[in-house]
Amino acid sequence: MVAFAAGLGGLALVAPGPAALPEQRVAGRPVQVPSDGYASSSSCRACHPGQYASWHGSYHRTMTQVATPETVAASFDGVIVDNVPGSPMLLEQRGRRLSAVFDDPDDEVKGLAPESDSARPRRIDRQVVMTTGSHNQQIYWYATGNSRVLGQLPAIWLTADRRWIPRRAAVMHPPGQSPMSETGSWNGVCVACHTTNGQPQLDTPFGSQPILTQVADTRAAEFGISCEACHGPGEPHLHANRSPLRRYVLHLIGRGDSTVVQPMRLNPRLSSQVCGQCHSFWEFSNPQSERRANAHGLPYRPGDELAETRFIVQPTKNLGSPAMQAFLAADPGFIRDIFWSDGMVRATGREYNGMIDSPCYRNAATDARTMSCFSCHTMHKTSDDARMIGEWADDQLAPRAVGNQACLQCHARTIQDVTAHTKHRADSAGSSCYNCHMPYTTYGLLKTIRSHQISSPSVRATVDTGRPDACNLCHLDKTLAWTADYLEKWYATAKPRLGDEEQSVAASLLWLLSGDAGQRAIVAQSLGWAPAQQASGTGWIAPYLALFLDDPYDAVRYIASRSLKTLPGFQAFAFDYVAPQTTRAAQRIQAMQIWRATRDGRIPGRAQLLINADGSFNAEVINRLSRERNNRRVVYRE
C-alpha cells in the first residue's frame, strides 16, 4: 500500500501540467512556426552551446516574447496604472493569463470617441499576449479579438526607472496631438525585424484599409532575432551535419560550412548587411515586393546583396532617385525625421546607414581595412571576454572595441603619440577616439547614442546642419568660435563665418534655448555626461536644466531631469516628467531651491554662459533666445 502510494506520488511529480496548445492552434496572436527551411534556435543548441548561451543572454532574443508571468518585466498583480490617456488601466494576472482593462485606444479610429467630456470612452478587457523589448523599455501587446491582429497597451514599462509611462512619453513626439493607436503595427511593421522570417500575412497592404477590418494570419519562424536571422535558414545545415564524418572533415580542414552562412566569413560589405537588414532605414522598392514579403517574409537572406531586395535610404547617395522622390512626395518628413540635413543619421536603430557613409567603410582600399559592424561588435561573447554577460549584452562590443583599441586596428600609428593627435591628455576623455569621432548626436529611446558615422569635428557642419559638434558637447561652456579657433590652430580646419551669438554665447546654450527638440535632447543629455561636466564645471548647469523640466516635449523633460539628478545635491530630486503641468512647475521651483541651497557661494560671471558679473542670469538674452526657439514639429522614427 505504501509502495503504491509512493508510486502515485512519484507519478505526480513527473506528470506534466495542463497540456500547452500546439503553437499552430494558438489563436488571437501571431504564432511561431518554422517553415521555409528555418529550424529554430533550439536546434542549434546541442552543437553550439556557447554561441547559443551568449545569444540567449542577448537582448536580440528577448526583442519579441510571448507574454507570460516570466517574460513580463512589470508586475500585473492587480496594478493600477494612472499614466494613460483617459481612465487608469488595470493590470491583472489570472492564473498564467495576463490581462488589462483600459480605454479602447481605437475608439477614435472607429469614430466612437465621445464629443463631450462627460461621456467616457469604451472600456475593454483584453489578454496581454506579446511583449516587445526588455533592455530599455518593454511594450505590451494585447489580442484585439480580430484574427491575429495585436493592439498596444496605452502605457509601456520604462525598465531603468521601473515605472509605467504613457506610450506617447516614450518617444520623441510633438505635444498636443491626438492619442496614439498602434493597433496592427506589430503585424504590419514590427514583425519584419523583431522576429525571424516574420510574415505579416495581412489580407490587404498595411494601412490600405481601417485596421479594425483588416484580417491577419501573422506568423514567424521564431519570435525575437534568433540564430537564423544572421546565419540563414538552418534546416540544410542540420540535415547535412547529422553525419559525424562530414563534421570532423570540416573541423579538420577548417573551411566554412557551405550549408550555413557565417557572417564573420563574409566580406565586410556583406557581413555588415546582415546587421543592416534591421539596423537600417529602408523601404520596399515597389508594392509587389511588399506583397511578396507580406506572404513569405522578407526575401533577404544573410550573404545576399541587401540592396537587391529593398531600397536603402541614403540621402547622400540616392536623394535624387525616383524612388526617393516618390517617398518624399508621400511624406515630406521622410528624410527629415531620420537624417540631419547633410544626410547623417540622427535616429537610433539605423546604425548601418551611418556606418556605410563613414570614410572607414566608404574609402577603404581593401577588405582587410574596411570597417564593418564586426570591427567593433560581436554577436557572441567570446571566451576571452571577462565581462558578465549582462554587461556585454548592453552594446555587444567586442573586448577589442572597448576603448581606443577599436580604431587602432587600422590607425595604430596614432596611438604612438596620442596627445600629438588629440591635443588632450592621453588619459583624458578628450583622447578617446569615440568622443571626438562618434559623438552622441543620435537620439532614440529617451537617450542619445553615439553616431555610427565616423566623422571629425567640424564647426562648418554644425553651422550648416544644426548638429552639435563633438567639441562643444564636451566643452559645454565654450562658444562655436572657440571651437573653430582650436580646430584651425590644431588641424588647419578653415573657420566658417559665424554669427554674433555663435561667437559670444556657449554653443550648448544656443542649441538648448533656440534649438529644435532633437537638439535640446542631445544637449540636455550632455549636461549630465560626466566627461562634459568635468570639462565645463557643474555650478551653472542646474538652472538651465531646470528650464527644460517644462519643455513641451516629454522626451526632453525626461532627459533634462535625468541629467539634473547627476548634479551635486540633486540625487534625491524627484521629478515626474509626465505629471500635470502644475505639478511639474512646482517641482521645477523645488529644483531651483535645491540649486540655491547647494551652490558654493556666488557663481562667477561668465558672459558666454549668460551669467552677469554679479552672478545673476542674463534674462534678456535667455528670453530672446527662448523666443527664437525652433518649434518645428520633431518626430523621430525610433
Partner: protein, 142 residues
C-alpha cells in the same frame, strides 16, 4: 598465465584504476568548487560532459575489473576460455574508453569532442567482446 594470476592482475588493475578515476572525480569536483571557467563556462559544456564521462566510465570499469578478478576466483578455470583475450580486451577497453572521453574534452570543436573520441568506439567494442565471453563462461556448466 594461470587463472589465479589473471585474478590477481585484474584485482590489482581494478583497484589502482579506481584510485586514478576517483582522483579524477575529486579533481572535477575541485574544478566545480573553484568555479574554473575552463571547465564550467557554457562554451566548455562539451569538455565538462567528456570529462564527466571519462570519470564515470573509468570508475565503473575499475569496479568491473575487481568483480572480474573475484569472479575468476569463484569460477573453475576450465569454463572461461580465451582468458588471455578477455583479460587484454578488458584492460584495453578500460584505457581506451575513459581515455578517449578525456582526450576528447581537452581540445574540442564547440559541440563536437576532439579527435580523441575516436578511441571510445574501439574501447566499446573491446568491452562488449570481453563481457560477452565472461558472460558465456559464467553460464557454462561446471
Amino acid at each position: 598465465m594461470t587463472a589465479p594470476e589473471y585474478s590477481r592482475r585484474h584485482l590489482r588493475f581494478g583497484w589502482w584504476s579506481l584510485l586514478l578515476f576517483a582522483t579524477l572525480g575529486l579533481l572535477l569536483e575541485s574544478l566545480q568548487g573553484f568555479k574554473v571557467r575552463a571547465y564550467l563556462d557554457v562554451s566548455n559544456e562539451t569538455r565538462r560532459l567528456m570529462w564527466t564521462l571519462a570519470h564515470a566510465h573509468g570508475t565503473l570499469l575499475a569496479l568491473v575489473h575487481v568483480i572480474f578478478g573475484l569472479t575468476m576466483r569463484a569460477t573453475p578455470p576450465t569454463v572461461m576460455p580465451h582468458l588471455h583475450l578477455i583479460s587484454s580486451s578488458l584492460i584495453a577497453a578500460s584505457v581506451l574508453l575513459p581515455g578517449g572521453f578525456f582526450l576528447g574534452g581537452i581540445a574540442f570543436y564547440s559541440g563536437d569532442p576532439g579527435l580523441g573520441i575516436l578511441l571510445v568506439p574501439i574501447g566499446g567494442v573491446l568491452l562488449l567482446f570481453a563481457v560477452f565471453w565472461i558472460a558465456r563462461g559464467s553460464s557454462a556448466r561446471r
